[in-house]
């Protein structure tokens, strides 16, 4: 008897959609995936409804790849639903794993985000000051929108997650490895990541020198020799504090790593790890004052999953 095909699902919550494209970036390998598995839910590509998922028996999806952070009530609802319906839930991409750029909204709260988005931005024309409401009564009845939360959460802060594959988007070889592991049922211990344990520096071809940081420079301020470690040239590179897997794509094309793969496996706070390392090689106190945007620089992808998680809002 032919082996029954696996059932897999993809979902996007608060994300940019890049992770959806990354699934297709595995090119012809996608054929292996569809040969071995049926896609039972994929809102970006296939016409399934939430009710279709609700109708599925619990644990009937073999693996669900969930990208995006938890920003709204809807995100949370579907995360919980898919958790219930799936045997394996994979946090797919930086948003689901660490909150990513979406998580930087944790520097504000709902009120200030709305203020900015629906009133302050130069492109906004909203004289009535309309903002999204969870509940609106109109003459036709009650209109309900999912609640917009104060704080962005990661998937694992919301539901129990089996595996992680971070990155913005996840590195292609790691996506292939993830699919293969699931299709062949060759799975690592629960809670594992499909990215390597090492850091970006391990994959970076640039030559490391003496690491004496005497001045922080922007990438346009250096005369890059395309060979020397960017940190050795004074540019803040998140490589040392970022999990490997991408083959150091950015340093390879002469841009510093910004940390999208998230922290190493033993690190709880990527930004703090980077700050400790940078402070340790700073040769003078002025270097410290040259750090102008610590959260945007060191917590760009991991604020929602850091020790602080969000800004303390003074009411």
């Amino acid at each position: 008897m032919e082996k029954e095909k696996l059932k897999i699902a993809f979902y996007w919550a608060a994300s940019c959609g890049g992770c959806e494209i990354a699934v297709l970036d595995i090119n012809e390998k996608i054929l292996d995936v569809v040969a071995a598995a049926d896609i039972v839910f994929w809102p970006v590509a296939l016409d399934f409804k939430y009710k279709d998922v609700e109708a599925m028996p619990d644990k009937s999806i073999d693996a669900c790849f969930f990208n995006g952070a938890i920003r709204t009530e809807e995100n949370e609802h579907i995360a919980k639903l898919l958790r219930r319906k799936s045997k394996i839930l994979v946090a797919f991409g930086s948003c689901a794993c660490d909150g990513c750029v979406v998580g930087l909204a944790n520097l504000w709260d709902r009120e200030t985000v709305f203020e900015r988005a629906y009133s302050e931005t130069p492109s906004t024309n909203n004289p009535e000051g309309t903002t999204p409401k969870t509940l609106l009564e109109v003459k036709e009845g009650k209109l309900k929108l999912p609640e917009f939360y104060d704080t962005v959460k990661t998937l694992s802060q919301t539901v129990d997650v089996d595996y992680f594959i971070s990155g913005c988007p996840p590195p292609i070889p790691c996506i292939i490895q993830t699919f293969q592991a699931i299709l062949t049922n060759n799975l690592p211990p629960k809670g594992s990541s499909f990215l390597p344990n090492k850091s970006i520096c391990d994959e970076c071809p640039r030559e490391k020198k003496d690491k004496q940081l005497s001045e922080i420079k922007r990438i346009y301020e250096i005369d890059d020799d395309f060979k020397t470690c960017l940190l050795d040239q004074g540019v803040i590179c998140m490589g040392p504090a970022t999990r490997a897997g991408c083959g150091a794509q950015c340093p390879n094309v002469n841009m510093p790593c910004t940390g999208c793969n998230g922290p190493g496996p033993r690190v709880t706070d990527q930004g703090a790890a980077a700050l400790s390392a940078i402070a340790s090689i700073a040769t003078n106190p002025e270097v410290i004052n040259q750090v102008v945007d610590p959260i945007g620089t060191f917590y760009k992808y991991s604020l929602a999953n850091s020790i602080l998680r969000r800004k303390v809002m003074k009411k």
């Binding site: 520097l107 104060d150 704080t151 959460k153 802060q157 344990n197 090492k198 850091s199 970006i200 520096c201 391990d202 490391k208 003496d210 690491k211 004496q212 490589g239 040392p240 504090a241 490997a244 190493g264 496996p265 033993r266 690190v267 709880t268 706070d269 930004g271 703090a272 790890a273 980077a274 700050l275 400790s276 390392a277 940078i278 402070a279 340790s280 090689i281 700073a282 106190p285 270097v287 410290i288 750090v291 945007d293 610590p294 959260i295 060191f298 850091s306 020790i307 602080l308 998680r309 969000r310 800004k311 303390v312 809002m313 003074k314």
Partner: protein, 806 residues
């Protein structure tokens, strides 16, 4: 491992603490903590019956972790550690707290709050103790041998001491002859005795009578069987580890066989090459084949390869009666394994020609102190007569100028410390020999700090040597008479003087010997900004370097007179002996360990380790991982505080142990005030907390102390964790920035704290909730004051409730 069974031993110091702390409540509390199987209370646990109780509990297998709360700290900790080790429990399985100086004394006015703090301290110690692991002793082989670099008085004296102790010693000198600067100096102040006089070896050297001191050439030291002297030699490479260094020495050819040369001097008579003799201040010439003075070691001629015509001439080969000359000698590399290296490379004169207004190098009658010393020396170029080099006639009017290049912001800002005495020595020697000579010394300050030095100075004044306080502005030359004029303002008389002179003698600054910087790089030790070798600690370890097994003797660290150099040499020898005499190096495994699986080869830790203990090792032929040398690691944890992958742990202070203790300390408040976590280094930081308690200085009980080896181990996340664990404020207490016991720990963590403050501000948390303090033991008052101020500040700021929350 067996199940963790914690024994808690609560000392009330003979009831002295029960007036403040409620021991019944504390005992009841401790008994209920998970993992605690044995609780004893007594008046003391570091000796007598109390200690026996602890030993019995260990021997009977009741406990395998020990938490001790003593009232007599520090020494009792050592005694207890020894006792539990004897009882069969590794002493790293003990956690020690001080309920007196860290709790009862500073909080005596708030007994109930102090009791709650005591509970938190005990809980912290228990939670940490549960996670402790035993650490073994490590042994490394060590060779009882030394290489001494530099054959001046420091090097010779060190070599003699080490050889006397039975070490295999190699003494290498870059010049063809031993003696260094001292051999040129002729005499030493303030005794005016010969510079070549050294302490004789105590080894059994036949036919040499032993007195306390001897001329170098008849001291017998060159005959010590376990002393190997290599001249014309330089260190070119150093590999290996303390106790077993592999040193490569390059030996420049001498072209004369030491075993055959009989010093007959026939060769110099036929040698056609004549060059200025640098050993004799270029006041006379020497041949390409030469010997400095008859009484040098080795007593063998040498050919100056840079000027010799070799086989185009070869007259010396033909005339040599013993066939000692070998023009085909090649430079050779000698490798040796030694347990230790002693750097005794000394110092030299600053090149005074840089100071244009003194015209040194331009006016032949302007000379330096060392050049004058050669003239005064009977073996010197003038046979002891002080002359004007321009016409070789005796110099009667002599002006000496002090601080040439030293104490001068343009050149060397430091005082070279010995030049005043050298000039006074020269002046008195000349005046004694030629009472009619007219000698003036122009000085900024006369520095006579050594014993007898002031009397020496007084004697010079009584002899009629003139002293003018002022730094000459220029030396002029009268073209007709050929005399020199020294322009100087006498600052004491406010008078402008034009001093006429036959000879002007400069006292140049003393600077590191040639090649000091390169040697430091080869060995892997540091030099100071002034170029001299950096000692480990000027007060406590003046002859040690940061690298174990490498020592510095004499003027290599800074210009020194002969007595100080001698003292230094004995000290360096003693340190080397202490390090190697058992033939092994024994140390605890209080070291860092790197988890290779997580090391990302970012190469931060090798840079931040102050001891060069971390190197990179290739794995799988491609990837590199960092590796810690257990021998070199000092256990500070600065690498841990650096690693962005958290791949490094300190065996004796793991992250989970710190976390557990931190959470426990913050889990009980018991006061009405906001909790403060003070993370102290175990050196000055913790000592400052001790001293505040010892002096019964008060600060509020909401301040909780956690000890780490060095604040360098801390990472930014630990500060954030502390806030998350409930701290409303965090104090980081380390050694002074320049006084860190691990060199750079305070400095690095100060930057981490500053960055964290910037970060906290972005997060909407008041940065003043985090504070770094740098203290020494005697600044307990500062700790108490800072703790009080932090508490008051936090009370004003209000509670930090939403930290890390959703």
């Amino acid at each position: 491992m067996d199940q963790v069974q914690v024994g808690v031993f609560l000392s009330d110091g003979g009831n002295q603490l029960t007036k403040i702390l409620d021991y019944n409540a504390i005992t009841e509390f401790v008994k209920k903590v998970a993992g605690v199987v044995f609780v004893a209370r007594g008046s003391e646990f570091w000796r007598g019956q109390g200690l026996q109780t602890m030993v019995d509990a260990i021997r009977e297998g009741k406990v395998n972790r020990v938490v001790v709360a003593e009232t007599l700290p520090k020494l009792s900790e050592v005694k207890i550690a020894n006792a539990i080790e004897d009882a069969g429990l590794n002493h790293y399985l003990m956690e020690f707290i001080d309920l007196k100086d860290h709790c009862a004394s500073p909080h005596q006015k708030t007994p109930s709050e102090a009791t709650e703090k005591a509970k938190a301290m005990l809980l912290g110690a228990i939670e940490r103790a549960k996670l402790l692991e035993p650490l073994e002793k490590l042994e490394f082989p060590a060779l009882k041998s030394s290489l001494v670099v530099g054959g001046g008085i420091a090097g010779m004296q060190t070599a003699i001491d080490l050889a006397d102790f039975g070490f295999e010693v190699s003494l290498i000198e870059k010049e063809p002859f031993l003696g260094g600067l001292a051999a040129q100096a002729g005499r030493f102040f303030p005794t005016d005795d010969c510079a070549i006089c050294i302490q004789s070896p105590s080894s059994d050297i036949k036919t040499i009578t032993h007195t306390s001191r001897k001329c170098v050439y008849r001291s017998g030291f060159t005959e010590i069987p376990n002393l190997n002297i290599l001249t014309n030699s330089r260190v070119v490479a150093v590999e290996g580890v303390p106790g077993n260094y592999k040193v490569t020495v390059e030996k420049t050819p001498r072209y004369v066989d030491e075993d055959k040369c009989v010093q007959c001097d026939l060769c110099t008579a036929v040698c056609p090459v004549e060059v200025p003799d640098e050993h004799n201040a270029r006041l006379r010439t020497r041949k390409a084949i030469y010997i400095n003075v008859p009484h040098v070691h080795p007593p063998t001629y040498v050919i100056d390869g840079s000027v010799c015509k070799f086989h185009d001439c070869a007259k010396c080969v033909d005339i040599c009666p013993t066939k000692a000359v070998d023009l085909d000698q090649r430079s050779e590399k000698v490798t040796m394994s030694v347990g230790s290296i002693i750097v005794a490379t000394g110092f030299k004169e600053f090149n005074s020609s840089a100071i244009k207004e003194y015209h040194y190098g331009e006016y032949p009658d302007v000379v330096t102190n060392l050049e004058l010393a050669r003239m005064i020396d009977g073996f010197g170029p003038t046979g002891g007569v002080v002359v004007r080099p321009s016409n070789m006639k005796p110099a009667k009017k002599i002006v000496m100028i002090q601080c040439v290049g030293s104490r001068d912001q343009r050149y060397k800002p430091y005082c070279s410390s010995i030049c005043c005495m050298i000039s006074i020595k020269h002046a008195t020697l000349i005046k004694s020999a030629y009472p009619n000579s007219d000698i003036t010394i122009c000085y900024i300050d006369i520095r006579t700090t050594g014993r007898e030095h002031e009397y020496y100075y007084e004697k010079a004044r009584e002899m009629g040597i003139k002293f003018v306080k002022g730094r000459p502005t220029e030396i002029l030359r009268d073209p007709e008479k050929g005399k020199l004029i020294v322009d100087v303002e006498d600052a004491l008389l406010s008078r402008f003087l034009e001093l006429e002179a036959d000879l002007v003698v400069l006292a140049p600054a003393m600077i590191p010997a040639d090649g000091a910087k390169k040697l430091a790089e080869i060995i892997g030790i540091e030099t100071e900004e002034d170029g001299f070798f950096k000692e480990y600690n000027a007060k406590l370890r003046p002859t040690e370097t940061k690298l174990k097994g490498v020592y510095i003797a004499g003027g290599a660290t800074f210009p020194k007179d002969a007595p100080t150099t001698s003292l230094h040499a004995h000290s360096a020898a003693m340190k080397a002996v202490k390090f190697l005499h058992t033939g092994k190096i024994v140390k605890d495994q209080r070291t860092a360990v790197i988890n290779e699986d997580y090391c990302g080869d970012c190469e931060f830790c090798p840079v931040t380790c102050p001891y060069g203990a971390i190197t990179l090792e290739q794995k799988d032929g491609e990837h590199f991982v960092a590796k810690v040398s257990d021998l070199l690691c000092e256990g500070c944890g600065i690498c841990v505080g650096t690693c962005p992958q958290n791949a490094i742990e300190l065996r004796h202070c793991r992250t989970d142990q710190m976390q557990a203790q931190m959470k426990a300390l913050m889990s009980i408040n018991g006061t009405s005030k906001p909790l403060v976590l003070a993370i102290c280094c175990s050196e000055c930081g913790h000592a400052a907390v001790d001293s505040s308690g010892m002096a019964k200085m008060e600060y509020p009980a909401n301040v909780r102390v956690m000890k780490v080896p060095c604040v360098g181990i801390l990472q930014v996340h630990q500060f954030l964790d502390a806030f998350k664990a409930g701290a409303q404020g965090v104090m980081v207490v380390g050694c002074k920035i320049d006084g860190c016991h691990y060199e750079v720990g305070s400095q690095k963590t100060e930057k981490k704290v500053e960055l964290t403050k910037i970060l906290l501000k972005e997060y909407g948390v008041e940065p003043e909730r985090l504070e770094m303090l740098n203290m020494v033991f005697i600044e307990g008052d500062k700790f108490a004051e800072a703790a009080q101020m932090m508490t008051e500040r936090l009370e004003k700021l209000g509670s930090l409730q939403t930290f890390g929350g959703s």
